[in-house]
Subunit: 325 residues, 4 copies
Amino acid sequence: MHKVVLIGAGRIGHIHARNAALHPRIELAGVVDAVDASAQALAREWNTTVTTLDAALADSTVSGVIVASSTDTHLDYSLRAAAAGKTIFCEKPIDQDLGRARTARAGLSGANMLLAFNRRFDPNFQALKARLDSGAVGAIETLQITSNDPAPPPPSYIAVSGGLFKDMAIHDFDMARWLLGEEPVLVYATGSCLVDPAIGELGDVDTARTVLRTGSGRLCVIANSRRSGFGYDQRVEAFASAGMVRADNVSESTVQLWSESGVATDRFQNFFLDRYAEAYRREMDHFADMLDGAPAQVGYADGVAALALAEAAGESMRTGAPVQL
Amino acid sequence: MHKVVLIGAGRIGHIHARNAALHPRIELAGVVDAVDASAQALAREWNTTVTTLDAALADSTVSGVIVASSTDTHLDYSLRAAAAGKTIFCEKPIDQDLGRARTARAGLSGANMLLAFNRRFDPNFQALKARLDSGAVGAIETLQITSNDPAPPPPSYIAVSGGLFKDMAIHDFDMARWLLGEEPVLVYATGSCLVDPAIGELGDVDTARTVLRTGSGRLCVIANSRRSGFGYDQRVEAFASAGMVRADNVSESTVQLWSESGVATDRFQNFFLDRYAEAYRREMDHFADMLDGAPAQVGYADGVAALALAEAAGESMRTGAPVQL
Amino acid sequence: MHKVVLIGAGRIGHIHARNAALHPRIELAGVVDAVDASAQALAREWNTTVTTLDAALADSTVSGVIVASSTDTHLDYSLRAAAAGKTIFCEKPIDQDLGRARTARAGLSGANMLLAFNRRFDPNFQALKARLDSGAVGAIETLQITSNDPAPPPPSYIAVSGGLFKDMAIHDFDMARWLLGEEPVLVYATGSCLVDPAIGELGDVDTARTVLRTGSGRLCVIANSRRSGFGYDQRVEAFASAGMVRADNVSESTVQLWSESGVATDRFQNFFLDRYAEAYRREMDHFADMLDGAPAQVGYADGVAALALAEAAGESMRTGAPVQL
Amino acid sequence: MHKVVLIGAGRIGHIHARNAALHPRIELAGVVDAVDASAQALAREWNTTVTTLDAALADSTVSGVIVASSTDTHLDYSLRAAAAGKTIFCEKPIDQDLGRARTARAGLSGANMLLAFNRRFDPNFQALKARLDSGAVGAIETLQITSNDPAPPPPSYIAVSGGLFKDMAIHDFDMARWLLGEEPVLVYATGSCLVDPAIGELGDVDTARTVLRTGSGRLCVIANSRRSGFGYDQRVEAFASAGMVRADNVSESTVQLWSESGVATDRFQNFFLDRYAEAYRREMDHFADMLDGAPAQVGYADGVAALALAEAAGESMRTGAPVQL
């Protein structure tokens, strides 16, 4: 059993606490949170104790640290955990500031650090990746990533989110890098405010299209909207030389109603914690493998690369011109 | 070009007239109908002439006869066409009376006669049959035939229809024989009047389930209702040793509407002339092959066999006991 | 927290132990098994203790008992738990012998007892039931239950199984009763041995079709095979006056591969513990509601009624005649 | 009956000849082709005569002209037909040269001229448009057009095609204008040669992504490849404020094969004459309406507008910068 301490007792912290506590190779050895009541409640739920980051890092029996606190603390806590030799599970994004993220390179690139882009661990996207890797459809040529939220967040969230590209499309930039098999060298993005005028007033967009181009000419389109009107819309189509592989949305059930107006399926899953429940479990399982010695499948460098693409997309949208990377 | 004369200028006659007239190897050489105005109108539409059955049979340049007149004339006209050495395209059913149908054996079993069970020519069911015959799923074991009409016909139609088994399920009995690869030896049927009480008052049922069993123990269920509530419902599932092949309903278009309540497809095709338009064309194409010398793929004996199953199903329903064939 | 003791540390016992232990309103207070090592291992896994049935029943702080031991003990343990005033969660079937099951009526019909037909708790079937109950498609008229296992069990299992109807179709008889909204009054069944000759040598069948008829003439077909060739095949189609509701199989993922030969989906789930994982969780949730005072949604009488249908189906198959209930 | 003369007896001329000849309100009154044998053969097939453009235009009983000759003659023949007061059915594209197409404005903008973008008449895309226009999903915001050919044409075709944007994406530009409900004001395109190096050697691309932006900020992506690997890939997703409407590919049949590896559907239609057979019939039906006096639903101005977008896309790809319209 690997002892692991969790930093951050918020919504995502609750998910990781449960998955860590129930994992057969992990022991949730403590919870850290600035708000003591939150830490206490979560610790009680999983029969563990409240601790501090300093204590956790000083405890040589603790092997791993899960950083699930607010975004602005990700780099700092990860650097400290790395310095203490801990295996790290860090929530995305690595930071909102590309410069800051790059500065941390010396301290983080040597650590065994999972940058937790949850979609890489989703069973559907993993199955898609496995089909591509199997060679069944030949070499990938183009990629369509559709990534729409069910409904826009409140303006207060938008205000501190870092904008659509860093907050929402960051997942899609990581997916693109993971699936394209090559680094993008050109980014073009355009966006609009079509969903909620309050988002536009904050200087952000709620609807965007981004085109990525790799060195060998592979093309990727990322389609984003803050509102789908039909639930969580997370789909991928990967076109290759001998066919196409795609992953579709997940429905609440397999039930269909056949009537005069045709076939009506059940609704799509609407909430990311439902849609990605299994992804979070698989993330934790990979973290257990890392604690056993396996290298992280996605780490610090991936977090920086996705952030660089998000920054380039924002620049392209502002200037109206494609950005070379 | 093979000269062909059509008997019967009703609804199905119009379909066959068009398909014959447009066929590159067939010339529609005349139309026969008891109602002269109907014959005249249809002949004019396809630039041909009105004639009589006697004249057509006496004309040695006429190779084929299409019998699309009322059911009670099918046997008589076919026998006369057979005696005149014509190739025959006869609408289903062969007759409503099994004894009468069997009596015609001497005159018809030697003729090159197509008993036009249209579903055997439907592209979907032909594709299903081809998959089965390819051996891709091994030997067939069980069969599920779902065959529901969009809405019940008027009681006046029911009164002369011969009942659900002879009028509606007759298609399904033919499909069962075609797909099972063995003759049924046992029939059990049960039925209810759930859709329209007027049908029950006429001594008929509008809802039925029939179980067929072949000599080697293959099992088939036929599900019938006079009303689906969602259009024309014509589906087949053929279970075999290594999997299942199925044919589904046909939708009006590929359009889907994704909304908060899920995915809504377009409606299913509702009218049998839409659903089987291509089947009727393929029937005529097969008739052209017969005129070129090919043997009929489905003929007199198949018409009798399907009728015998319909009669057995009716008996089973009345007596409550399975019927041995 | 309701204290609950589990009897039976086998495969299904492991499922219930986990779901009980993780349930927020249930405390897994002990494990009972004739094989001490099994009980010890399972108790250790969930941080509880090994106990005996006597001790559990004598302990007034224990509110509920989960009977997950072998079938022949279900009635006896349930009767003892009922006598001790415990709330009961009993695995299906209630027994293999209808007479024995009926004899237990005095002792069980008053108990708050869940007869754990897991399919009633499956999210897909529950969604189907909810659509039917909503009245969206009118009153139910006919029902098609398709229930095929991925592959046949070994002959040793068949020998003690009670036969296809009591072992496998028992679930479908319960589903039929649940969905038809009326009791069947007539049962006709026919079966074959098409999958594994060893099953036939044991006097059992591996393929069957059963027709049920209710008092008002509603019809139900149950299709069973011990082998689908394509995974776990558990589907329902409920036809009603204004349409149809159906529940389909569950795929491993949403991934599709589009190639020259068409669209290939991912495989269907193959293992019942995957297919019904959520059903087992919902069962335990319902048991928690029962411990809070709610009545069981499916209980002793349902277990007897399903067994009676299974017995009638077996008799119909043996005699070749429909059986009146 | 409206007399109509067809110019061009090539592949697409054959389609229009058949649809005109079989149309109840149209009489195919003559065929014109530079190659006399071609004209003779087609005229014979549909029982009409060979004529010349001059004779047809001089014949006051001829109401309509179908221009299905080579692209470089479209403008000239249409101008002459317009001058003679004929109703015009002109194949797409209007021309490969935007300047030339614009020059013809004086002569064509007053004519009742159908610019035959066949996809506007496809039942699937028409059903999609009808859903959008019904308001069922609110106002359109973004559009995804996927348009991939089954396999690349030979280099000899590419050499005279005008390039991917004018030859292939021209349809998609028309679809975008039709569905977006607003004119694009910005075009960004990027392309690669990933399918056939011979296409690249001719200065063309075989893979492209184009982003369109309208005045109010609606966004459209057009995805094109000269090779899908899985048949004719023609799909549309229209995202609106309350949901999404989409049209999918068409399969050869509804047949599915369920096996250990999952569900395998039938292949997608591979040939545009199959995929759009009904669209061509509906085009002719609309032409009959025009001959009855109805205005063309898509005409000269649409042909020019689509060509302008194609030209802008080509410029954007060459310069690497978005092009303002």
